[in-house]
């Protein structure tokens, strides 16, 4: 019935990878670069995680016990910057690198050498950024959203290094995005039309365009900051006729699409895993694509919902309220479609599926709090409180991060040729699931009770919620060490895995042997309807 699938077994060991450090420094292989990105992002996750634990340690009880408020502000700021720019984004880029060429039947990315540069900029940029913590005056302490004039006139001296680091990260993202777009648009195997592409490829295609559109805006914002700080301009300085509020408009014009950049690939991942473990094709492929596209489009016109308390006129508030509420619709469609994929499937719950289902449930909870935040009059009570912190941590941690973890478990056999230990994987899941909910669910309540964000000490009525949250944070933090163990143990001692490591998995990558050959699809495969996508 189906045509013979032409999997490439022949060309894998013609030019094997180099040995040693040189391999990793100079590699132009998308698999190696994907691996680099993923390990780097894991390191950043642990670094940002340590900062979170410093925060949660101080917030364990009322009173200032461990760190001074100035240092606390550096921890909250750098925790945010590292998690957003160092953990989540590079992890998704790493997954793109590993998966996109294989999933479209291409031998590598369109621009392999630029790919290498895109990665190696990052350790340099983050090295610079983290070193600011040790400079005189301390590191960035103005929140990951770095509003002016706190981040310009009142910033520590290290702010200039922070700006350079942001520029470098932006360059890396832009180059990576160009690579991904060029690969997806031009290097698909014959027969893979756009509407036959795997969903992960679709979400990354759209994400890459979002990145191209908004990273220059971020670059613009920090450049204007640089000029205000060093060259006496007044973009954001009221004294010179500038406008602090304009900073917020520019930042959030970048910032809102940015958060969709951090979730669209997650939608793609989950759209592969749920069908695989439901043994049933994704429900409503076309709507899923249109939903992602509409979310991406809408993400450009909602930015001021981060600024409802800034003093915008009524018409502006109403517009942004309505536009923000609208995003719930395509997002809801996706959640319904995942549920419909599961419905009447034949489900099994290996670790990737556990993380994927948890993603759907917990991301939806984050979406609900997001919908509540969209209601402008109510937002006056939520804005800049822990209710917002709870919202974005739900969509980012059991949202984006769980999807990344799910992806690692799911494609682990394809990358390494080995199967990880399923029992330990499940243990990691349950510890993470419990940890993440104990950490962040109480924060809804402390926010509703009136606890502001970014404070190192708090009034007594918030004490119980904070203690609970801190306990959860330590559970969640340490359970990621279980993840590390599972990965390393799997790489060294896992049982060999089949090409189609998961019975229900579909996609060109699953037609390759496990581990996938160093150079795969040097000749394009034949694309069939059954194998094109999940």
């Amino acid at each position: 019935m189906s045509e013979v699938i032409h999997a490439d077994h022949h060309d894998d060991h013609d030019h094997g990878p180099e040995k040693g450090l040189a391999r990793w420094l100079f590699t132009t292989n998308h698999k190696d670069i994907g691996t680099l990105y993923l390990w780097f992002s894991f390191l950043m996750l642990l670094t940002g995680g340590v900062m979170a634990l410093v925060i949660r340690t101080e917030l364990f009880q009322p009173g200032l016990q461990f760190v001074a408020p100035e240092f606390f502000n550096q921890m909250t700021t750098n925790h945010g910057l590292i998690m957003v720019f160092g953990a989540i984004m590079p992890a998704f880029v790493g997954l793109a690198n590993w998966l996109v060429p294989m999933q479209v039947g291409a031998p590598d990315m369109a621009l392999p050498r630029m790919n290498n540069l895109s990665f190696w900029i990052l350790p340099f940029a983050f090295g610079m950024m983290i070193s600011t913590l040790f400079m005189e005056g301390g590191g960035p302490n103005f929140g990951w959203t770095f509003y002016a004039p706190l981040s310009t006139t009142y910033a520590p001296d290290s702010v200039t290094f922070f700006i350079f680091a942001v520029h470098m990260m932006g360059a890396s993202s832009i180059m990576g995005s160009i690579n991904i777009i060029a690969t997806i648009l031009n290097m698909r195997a014959p027969g893979m039309t756009l509407m036959k592409m795997p969903l992960f490829v679709w979400t990354w295609l759209i994400t890459a365009y979002l990145l191209l559109a908004v990273m220059p805006v971020l670059a613009g914002a920090v450049t204007m900051m640089l000029f205000d700080i060093h060259f006496n301009t007044s973009f954001f300085n009221a004294a010179g006729g500038g406008d602090p509020v304009m900073f917020q408009h520019i930042f959030w014009f970048f910032g809102h699409p940015e958060v969709y950049i951090m979730i669209l690939p997650a939608f793609g991942i989950v759209s592969h895993i749920i069908p695989a473990f439901s043994r049933k094709a994704l429900f409503g492929y076309d709507s899923m694509v249109y939903a992602v596209a509409s979310i991406a489009f809408l993400s450009f016109i909602v930015w001021a919902h981060h600024m409802f308390t800034v003093g915008m006129p009524l018409a502006g508030q109403l517009f942004f309220m309505y536009a923000t509420m609208l995003i719930a619709i395509p997002t809801g469609v996706k959640v319904f479609n995942w549920t419909a994929t599961m419905w009447k499937g034949s489900m099994s719950f290996e670790t990737p599926m556990l993380f994927a289902v948890a993603f759907v449930v917990l991301f939806t909870i984050g979406g609900f709090s997001g919908l509540m935040l969209a209601i402008t009059p109510a937002d006056y009570q939520y804005h800049d409180t822990y209710f917002v912190v709870a919202h974005f941590h739900y969509v980012l941690v059991p949202g984006a991060l769980f999807s990344i973890i799910a992806a690692v478990y799911f494609w682990f056999p394809k990358w390494t040729g080995k199967m990880y230990n399923e029992t330990m994987g499940k243990a990691h899941f349950w510890l993470s699931f419990i940890g993440v909910n104990v950490t962040f669910f109480p924060q809804h309540f402390s926010g509703l009770a009136g606890m502001p964000r970014r404070i190192p000490d708090y009034a007594l009525q918030f004490a119980d919620f904070n203690m609970l949250s801190s306990i959860g944070a330590f559970i969640f933090g340490f359970s990621q060490l279980v993840f590390l163990y599972v990965i390393i143990h799997g790489i060294r001692k896992g049982t060999p895995a089949a090409g189609r490591a998961w019975e229900g998995a579909r996609g060109l990558e699953w037609t390759l042997p496990s581990p996938a050959p160093y150079h795969s699809f040097t000749h394009p495969p034949v694309v069939t309807d059954e194998e094109a996508h999940a």
Binding site: P62, G63, L64, P69, E70, N73, N141, F142, P149, L150, T153, Y154, D243, R279, K280, A281, L282, G284, T309, G311, L314, Q317, M321, Y322, M325, I329, G332, V333, V335, F336, T339, A340, M342, W343, K344, S346, M347, S348, V361, F368, L371, M372, I375, T376, P377, A378, Y380, Q381, H383, D384, F445, G450, P452, R453, I455, D457, A459, L460, Q461, D464
Partner: protein, 375 residues
């Protein structure tokens, strides 16, 4: 199976009920029409979300239990259903439109700032609030700063924390019941935000820009909020405390403050004793200076210089006074001439020059300060 389902239902019910009823878990209803309207909006959207969640998660969990491979369920083959997709696109849209209507109404009401009975200018500083009462001609009747009153001992764990830990100030804002109060919001340095949860109002205080808020409160009491925009080191230590007084009581207090204002002006020409200056100076220092220069005067060099035996406190008195009045541009040292009157300035300068073993042989009187500040 039936037992399992009813157990889960009971658990969910308990959870939701406690969510609604427990004071500590939910947003407060507050004491104004606006705060009640906001609370209602909040509860409406919350119930809508809970309902959608119960339905969607219910379907999902049912599926997880019944459509498992281990239970022998074979996968169906459908992967689209246009009618269903249309339904679950259109119905949520309708729900959102329904939600947007009351939200719009409340927002319009919040923007109706006219027809006020009194106006107060609220100014955010690093790290305290200043309140300026404006009379009918919009002149400044009197003004004062509202500083965190929680002692450092409580913050650093040396004594037990009081009931209103971190939510108490030396002098709260006072407003009358049943009168529309208009707040004009701005800031001295960076962006702050003024929030009183019980009134349901929050707005950013932005340097160089004016924002406005209004409220009408009919229930006397003390209402506490906090700064809600990261503004530097002590962002968590600049609470908002509003005392709402019955109208008659408020009017009496207001008259007293106006009278005090002229007395305060007179004090500027008084001559204080050394002891009076030390007592007053220590108080001013504790409120305005100690957070950076530390109670023991040693500061946290190099960002917050030491005041023990260093050049400024041992050098010329007038230079010291000017420094405190004008601040140091480009540093964290604010121009306290704007925040402290001549008597407070004289006292704090005198205190700094005579505390911690410092032993300047001069005195500082309010008139010395007035001379230097160009009066």
């Amino acid at each position: 199976m039936k037992q399992k389902k009813s157990f889960i239902a009971a658990l969910l019910g308990l959870l939701t009920a406690s969510l609604v009823n427990a004071d500590e878990l939910n947003m407060r209803q507050g004491v104004t029409n606006i705060s009640h309207a906001v609370y209602d909006l909040h509860m409406t959207i919350l119930w809508i979300c809970v309902a959608i969640g119960v339905v969607v998660f219910g379907v999902m969990f049912w599926s997880i239990i019944h459509h498992r491979r281990a239970a022998g369920h074979e996968a169906a083959h459908f992967h689209e259903n246009t009618k269903l997709e249309l339904a679950w696109t259109i119905i949520p849209t309708l729900i959102l439109v329904l939600m947007a209507i009351p939200a719009t109404q409340v927002l319009i009401e919040m923007y109706d700032t006219g027809g006020e009975d009194m106006a107060i200018e609220v100014r955010g500083y690093q790290w305290k609030w200043q309140y300026k009462y404006l009379d009918e001609n919009n002149n400044n009747a009197f003004s004062f700063f509202s500083n965190l009153a929680t002692p450092k001992d409580e913050i650093e764990g040396r004594s037990a924390k009081g009931e209103h830990y971190l939510l108490e100030v030396d002098k709260p804002l006072r407003i009358p019941t049943n009168r529309k109060v208009r707040f004009l919001l701005t800031a001295e340095d960076v962006i702050h935000a003024w929030w009183v949860p019980d009134f349901g109002i929050k707005r950013d205080a932005i340097p160089g820009m004016l924002n406005e808020l209004w409220t009408v409160v009919d229930k006397p009491g003390v209402y506490r909020g906090q700064c809600t925009e990261l503004c530097g080191k002590d962002h968590g230590f600049m609470p908002v405390v509003v005392e709402v007084l019955e109208e008659a009581e408020f009017d009496a207090w207001y008259a007293e403050e106006v009278a005090n204002e002229s007395i305060r002006q007179e004090a500027l020409s008084k001559t204080f004793t050394a002891e009076e200056l030390m007592v007053k100076g220590e108080e001013v220092y504790g409120t305005f200076c100690a957070s950076c220069h530390q109670p023991n005067g040693q500061g946290i060099p190099p960002v917050f210089p030491s005041l023990v035996g260093t050049d400024v406190v041992t050098g010329p008195r007038d230079d010291h006074i000017r420094l405190v009045i004008n601040g140091v541009a480009g540093s964290a040292m604010q121009a306290f001439g704007k925040q402290l009157d001549a008597a407070q300035l004289a006292a704090v300068v005198h205190y700094e020059r005579h505390a911690w073993g410092n032993n300047a042989d001069d005195m500082t009187q309010p008139r010395d300060v007035l001379e230097l500040s160009g009066e």
